[in-house]
Amino acid sequence: MTLGVTAGLIAGAIPGFTVAMAVVLTLPFTFGMTATQGLSTMIGVLVGGLSGGLMAGMLTGIPGTPSSVATTFDGFPMARKGRPGLALGIGVWSSFFGGITGAVVLVTLAPQLARVGLEFGPWDYFALVMFALTITSSLSGKALLKGIIAGTLGLLVAAIGEDEVNGVARFTFGNDAIRQGFAFLPVLVGLFAFSQLLSDVQDRVKAGKPLMPKGTRAVRVEHRRAIAEVLSRWVVVLRSSFIGVFTGILPGAGSSVSNILAYDQAKKASKNPDEFGTGIADGIVAPESSNNATEGGALIMVMALGIPGDIITAVMLGALLIHDVVPSPSFISEEPVLAYSIFIAFFFAHFIMVTMQAFCLRIFVLITRIPMYILASVILIYCAIGVFALHNVGFDLWTLFLFGILGYVLRNLGFPLAPMILGVVLGDIAELNLNRAWSINNDLTLFITRPWSAFFLTLAAFSTVFPLYQRDRGVKAWTQFYFPIFAFAIAVPVVFMGGVVRPVLALCLVGLGVYLLWRRAQVAPRTDTKS
């Protein structure tokens, strides 16, 4: 795990290398390990990667990963004011406290959510998968349609080869090698890592230059002062950590979203919002606490329901499947050793991260002197070796190559890859649950009459419309009714879930909807009535 954290810290620090890529590339190393060791190593890389991104951002102004974009807003100015050691220290300790908060929530919430998951039937699982895919696509920004197409293509890729339920071959086009379908790892590495590397070397001039300016040097981290600064801002730490955790629970929204959300909230809550961006501690504490806490939230979904929320947890799920462990609501009770090992690893990795940060800072400075084209070429062959090691068959390498080309083409055409990767991972789960649902009862109305299924399908419908809401907010009249209608719509399945708490919650949602409508009626409409 120490090696994992170190590798994650270094990978996270290199601009262009995302945390997801570091986790993907670690997977082949875990084949020879037990599930517990493998998962611990990957969690080490994940925690290291999330914290490593701040080094590049603070020392050079170029964030190492998308998860640390907001850290740069105040981290870099503080470092330029001559306090790089303090800036790094605040970043490291905020990551630590944010991660620990995320771990506490993970340990507390995952078993509870798993209990809720036991209520799910195949209809509900199918609807949950659809929700995960639509929300991931809707978070693709302007390219909503492309996001949904990418997600659907992912489902289709998962459907190629032998059908898991009936054992019937599909879309083999006479090629026996395709009968087994495409293995998850070569598809993932090809789509994501291979295409990312090729995009990194696309610019010939940039690819030949060192990653960082020559003046970049390691500094001494001011730990004591930094701890005092972070602890004195415990409200910011807690608020940002909770933003991170709940962003992580939401499928599709990862640490790249949460760090900016937390920064924005810290700025809004601050008495001196104008000071943000000038190099203040709050501006480092908020994003760094949230990005480490986010993965605690994402792990909750994987461990409690077996549904990955982002690429990183999709790889984690893939790693579990390679070790013949299938996460489901009963995962924590059936595999307690592995489940609690993941909890402990997530805790422990944060302590290792703090210890290794100073050491990695020196290695990071050395690595940044290497031009991108050298790193890319070496990592390409490493991808090939790692993928071959999965099943020892040449077909996996051709799969890597094919999906590498596909990923590169899709990237250049503006298709987001995250929905496609989730589609590949969730395709089998969706089909299996559809089959189960059909075998139990071939009444399709169950998908809308069962409360949980209706709940997820309602969320899916509203998440699909959300990008249009964002586009038209304040311009078109219908956007005023988006949230009230959402509250009413979501209250319907919740009221039918039974018990005492849920109907009360449904009443609250109805009340919220009525309040929002009343408030809309009170304030002057901001919309352009002509449009």
Binding site: G32, L145, I148, N166, V201, R204, A384, G414
Partner: protein
């Protein structure tokens, strides 16, 4: 004609792709024991994908293409130069895969890294020496880790039997 841009071509390609795959679903073997046939799920996906592709096609005709991650190069030559590095990588990786059964992972990998580095980077004498050293050290180290450390069998290559 101005409207007939890349998105339109991609949408047409997707529609053809859906057509081919939908036709292929009729070749999927039907079983008597299945409650839900193996062809149903792929057909659901493909019908949905066809609808999405049609919407994409209409959208591409009605408005300007959405923002891309990389600026679109103008002209065939510029387009080729823009993607040249990626083409080198694809070419050498494809050759590496074709020669893998003969050269094996160690030698093939070293050659791949050396050739790719030389195609993407400097090509003077110092560059060749540096690339050769990187190829031997990096691939050699990884080969040793996987073969001896992780006990993974990597192809030796028929030329070295």
């Amino acid at each position: 004609m101005r409207r007939f841009h890349v998105d339109t071509l991609v949408a047409i390609f997707l529609l053809v792709f859906c057509g081919v795959f939908l036709a292929a679903t009729f070749s999927i073997r039907e079983t008597s024991y299945a409650s839900l046939g193996a062809e149903v799920w792929p057909r659901v996906i493909l019908v949905f994908l066809t609808v999405l592709s049609l919407a994409y096609f209409v959208q591409s005709l009605r408005r300007e293409p959405v923002e891309r991650q990389t600026p679109e190069p103008r002209g065939l030559k510029q387009w080729f130069l823009h993607h040249l590095n990626a083409f080198w990588c694809f070419l050498w990786f494809g050759l590496f895969l074709l020669t893998l059964p003969y050269l094996g992972m160690l030698v093939g990998g070293m050659l791949f890294v050396y050739v790719t580095l030389t195609s993407l980077g400097r090509r003077d004498l110092h560059g060749h020496a540096l690339h050769a050293a990187i190829a031997v050290i990096s691939v050699g180290a990884m080969w040793a880790i996987f073969t001896y450390g992780l006990k993974v069998f990597l192809p030796t290559g028929s030329l070295f039997y």
